[in-house]
Symmetry: C2
Subunit: 205 residues, 2 copies
Amino acid sequence: MPKRGYHHGNLRQALIDAALELIEVRGPMGFTLSEAAKQAGVTPAAVYRHFEGREDLIAEGALQGYEIFGDLMEYAYQNGQPSALEAFSATGRAYLAFARKYPGHYISMFESGISINRTPELAAAAARANGVLEKAATDLSQHIPAEKRPPAPMFSAHIWALSHGVVELFARNSPGRASPFPADDLLESGIGIYLRGLGLIEPDA
Amino acid sequence: MPKRGYHHGNLRQALIDAALELIEVRGPMGFTLSEAAKQAGVTPAAVYRHFEGREDLIAEGALQGYEIFGDLMEYAYQNGQPSALEAFSATGRAYLAFARKYPGHYISMFESGISINRTPELAAAAARANGVLEKAATDLSQHIPAEKRPPAPMFSAHIWALSHGVVELFARNSPGRASPFPADDLLESGIGIYLRGLGLIEPDA
DNA sequence: TGTACATCAGTGAACGCGCGTTCACTGATGTAC
DNA sequence: TGTACATCAGTGAACGCGCGTTCACTGATGTAC
């Protein structure tokens, strides 16, 4: 574990961090390699010592995002055990918390146009994160009477879509679009109503 | 109603159409004024006869989008009358149909970073579209026992978020992210479960 | 510990490119008489 | 109908800019002896 590397210390990570900050501020397309280099205190050409190019830099940010995301989801899932319901709810909250805390990562992952199949590592990291949500959904669906049970991937997709929509429309400050309610409340209550619709919590709770 | 205008005919609209097509293909930031001009068969400088600049061109596309969107939502709402439930469901379907049919408009409206308050016309058009969904939600909420009734704007926001999430994650071809189910089914079933959770449709329907 | 050498992270200049925007212009269309 | 003039939509050249990427280089760091 080197305290400081050759010249910069850890330029590779510094570039990724700079890129993520810029992506958060300028959007995925507004991000420029040159500006990231400048922000890391380095010439644009130096970037090519660590990355193949602009796209590669973004992809690396997305990869780290999926890893953090997967960790958070897994932790939330474990933490909610042994209650399937609590585990599921916790993953929903973790989703929003991640989007809040790591907006640059979130944008790189979901809005940058980077394909999930760009590299095997990226595909694997994304699959792992997705797997946690699906597992939580599967656990939960055991509690639904078989005849009225929707496929677990379907209601996992519902929750994912709801979460993503809340993030995009109400958690991020869409210019001029005021949130009618705090995003957390919106997601929490939305999931609550949805789960009631599945018969998983009491109708008059 | 001129058959053909001075030189081009109706360059203004041709530019908007070209911009919308490009935005659909290249994303909101990948869109360039020059390319739109070229696609309309005209010099980039000609754009400035009709628009103040690049942003103005995008904003005009967004405005037309909100107008079409508002019309569709209103039509769906009216068409579902007198059933509050049917009217509400129809607006949900209309949302997805709009995103499908007018992707360029959709992106200009929700993903381009154009502020809704850029011009009074834009703000008004957006407010009208939003108003239809809120009205449908309000109508519907009359059927919920008052003590367990969430505020109408809240559950309008839920449905909006769910719809938006489905569009972003599963209707648009996110690179490498395969949809587990057709988007329509996903939205329809999601809304169904949600409404059941509100006690608006029979629990064992 | 000291010296000679190898490594390689970062430099700085250069490139070709397409961008958004400006400007004086031109020439087709519309209008007055 | 024909002519002279006004309008103004679109042209084409030019601008300054920042971009991503390349390249030969340099000089600090690490290593062998």
